[in-house]
Amino acid sequence: MLLPDHQYLTVDSLSDCLKALRENGERAQVVAGGTDVIFNMRLKLFEPDVALSIRRVAELQQVEELPDGGLRIGAGCRLVDLVEHPLVNERYPAFADAVRAVASAHIRNIATLGGNICLKTRCWYTNNSEQWRQGVKECFKTDGELCHVIKSSSLCHAINNADTPLPLITLGAVLTLQNADQRREVPIAEFYRKDGMDHTVLAPDELVTHVTLPPVADRTVFLKIAARQGMDFSQAAIAARAAGTGADAPQVSLVLGSISMAPIQLDQPARTVEAQGLSDEAIEQAVAQVRAELGELTSLYARASYKSHLAKVLVRRALKALREM
């Protein structure tokens, strides 16, 4: 359980950071808060030559107010800073709730937003010590050709367990990705891939530098269910947003997380309540449409039937909560 041999590199500026990333590419591992990456290095899940700490890069740690009423948040901001930030709480309460729902106060004190957005997918076969992994065959994550979760699958089914991306997707947040040469803006809704292995569109030499939130006046909500309240990953979580007031909801977005390799946007249920409003009957109709949108579910961390049950419960609760706002 000791860290593999590596060089620990600390950079003070974004440009140094991007240069180092360009030089080391896939041999480097970005360390922000380190709450996830260091643990995985101990498990020898990856053994980078260079651990590149971005903790001292001040440019990544600002929360800027934008003229349009939105916010631009540096990826290096600690979760605790966001939890306590008045503008974050005021303008994006569901996002603030999601940040607050991550882990525990101890972890939020060092964990960052960028780290949460880029959090590697998890699986209890591979996120396990190297010695035990030897007992099971190599899987996609350990250079094999197998997924222990669904043995016949050609994909890795590890779970995307991050909480904050869900409200960020409903809010229409845009990520700024940057390498030594250029910068691109990618809506977070297009950032994730449905593959536990290669779970984002981020290139090895790229960094997530900022998250831009447009102004949002709609009702929003974030709900999470975990096996333990004190400190735990979600077994299922939802972020929801609705325009309008009361039962009237002309525009709705629903994003489920932690039940599969990527966040899931629920289209049909959203369309149903957009068309019919947030009545109890419409909500039940939307709930009935949830399972079809989830695709294949696995029994990783919790039974598949339980996950689909939770998905429905969360949709029902989120829609009712929106109606009451």
């Binding site: 035990w132 099971v136 339980y306």
Partner: protein, 774 residues
Amino acid sequence: MSVIGKSVARPDALDKVTGGKAYPVNFQLPGMLHGKLLRSPYPHAKILSIDTSAAEQLPGVKAVLTHHDVPQRKFTSVYFVPTDTKSLPQDLLIMSDHVRFAGQPVAAVAATSAEIAEQALELIEVDYEDLPAVFDPEEAMQAGAPQLHDGAENNIAVAPVMEFGDIEAGFAGADHIFEGTYTTQRAHTCYLEPRVCVAEYNGNDGYTINSSMQHLFGLREKLAFALEIPESNVRVIKPPYIGGGFGGKLDMSYIEPVAALLSRKSGRPVRMEHTRYEDFITTTRNPIKVYLKTGVKKDGTFTARYASSILDAGAHATHGAEVINVHGFAWLSSYHCENMKWEGKSVYTNNMIGGGYRGYGAPQACFAFESQNDEICETLGLDPIEFRKKNARQLGSAHPLVPGLTIDSYAMEEVLDRGAEAIGLAQRHPPGANGDGTTKRGIGMALFPFWVSGCVGFPDIYEHSGAIVKLNVDGTADVATASVDIGSGQITTLLQIAAEELGLPMAAMRMVDTSDTTTVPFDAPTHASRITYGSGLAIKAAAGEAKKRLLDVAGTMLEASPEDLEVVDGIVRVKGSPDTALTVADVASRAESPFIQFTDQGPAPTTLAEKGTIIGLSSMAPPSNPSPIAAGFVEVEVDTETGEVKVDRVVYSHDLGRVINPKGAEGQVEGGFQQGIGYALMEEIQFDPDSGTCLTGCFLDYKIPTAVEMPTQIESIFVESNEPTGPFGAKSMSEACVVVPAPAIANAIYNATGARLKDLPITPERVLAALGEL
């Protein structure tokens, strides 16, 4: 009483909150090496060959061991039974060519750093022959299942049976018969300090060991046995305290003998420390599947009780061969019935080895019988308190198993009545009737009436205890005992007992923290809720002896008869004339002074008889280890849509004889509830069914309750029944509080929802399944 019954502060508190430098994990020796174990990834295999040559060549590596280098003498690792009594199966080797569980050590390395030792492990090549494995105890008993140990037919390690009266006639005479099967899971004690040791070879076949464990003399005996050396060649150092045990450190693990042998081979001290993964696969509460069949009259009187229990011992019997018995005794002796039969089986599988854990078989039994008792009461419309009183034993009842003995302290009725009153049991709603929508509330209770772990109520079950109490010339006292403080606060309570007996203030008392197996008398392990009672009696006896000597010397000095003297708050005085007095310091100084003392009045008179340190020694077998009684009452909230259960309120009612330290007792009970709620609702060591590897080897995947899961209110009621054989009337308490939460919570969930949960842990998935929602 001046010290007993007071919440005096813990003398070890400051050290612990400022880093705990005395924890064994912080112990170091100059020049020490670091050892690591290579563990088998396969659950059942034969080792065909091991090549360690590359590892040996790695710079920094000083010694490598495989099964070829270790004695092949089979032993049991359980501390409280001397190995050569053979009452437990001797089926364990330090290292073997036969792997029986995923994680069994197959090689060890000592190197100048832990990093190098870990790297060296990667260089060891092991060629395994995979053998078919079996993980389910019932499958393991089937014909054709892989056989794990020679001589254990159908993989049955032990199969005790006990029968009283006529079970068939009892069922024939019943108005109603209830049947049910109850299962419990693997759970870890989650001590926070990992298992860790430093072993040093001192030549001449001798070793000195420092370890985080619960029994000095047990470790000495096991280590000497496994290494085939005389017992006194092993010197075990007593740590001032360890970072938790809860029964999880009641056996020698692999690291102690391996570190000893690595030290012998390298000529340097060797330190070994478990990772959390290693701790999680080292000991566990044994899973037990209990089938109960109970016959009752219309009024609830038992006419026949039958139980069969199948325990998953894992790869080696160790504690599993004894937990099964203690589990059976807990069930048998809980309630009175003329006709009872119990059949137990402890079965080998290719799972991890079991172990001790607070309660030792009783939680598995109590979950079954108190769940069924609730069902009986609900079905027949009986009052749960009256039903239990009717069937339980009474003060003065015959001992359930040992003819001729009686139960001499037993405040069961008061325990039940006060608890029921505090939670409002009589006012609870019928099942499913409290709450609306998806939130239901319920109240449930469970009683643990008799016999938890070693609290058996009869003498001579290896509870021997000893102590040394020595007065210093400044009026303070040093107390030495071999019993290890595993975090439960015994340093404080034992000192309180000594202080009360001596007549000294608490501030004058000190626990000696550097004793070892060569300097203090034998003391049984810190297990079986026995410390306050067993070690307490020994300490009281040693203090009594020191006090006798103190009064003899003071008698000479005060020219009074010792019988006329008393010691109050550090002052020795003549009863009835408090001005004729000396301080304890005066007396102890006089006893130790080398010369005739000159005072203002001239030379003080002296005789040789009064000279010598004032000291008391005891080494004894306590007359019993009487059973505490516990009843737990809980109020829960169940979310019927998600299956989540939240415990809001707890009332704990205990008969513990006498409270020595109220805060300490509350701490035990509250900590016990935290382990109990974890066992009830979320904790489970899980394995991959294909490979047998552990999936829950860290605190993210093995869930223990955090402060957030704890109820905001835990009310502790202590009933003082005054145990006549106990020190100042005390008996013990620290296990029963872990036993009752699971059935109390399950019964409260029934009261909330009408669903009966018979499998632990009661996860949201299981709640939903029981409600028909999944």
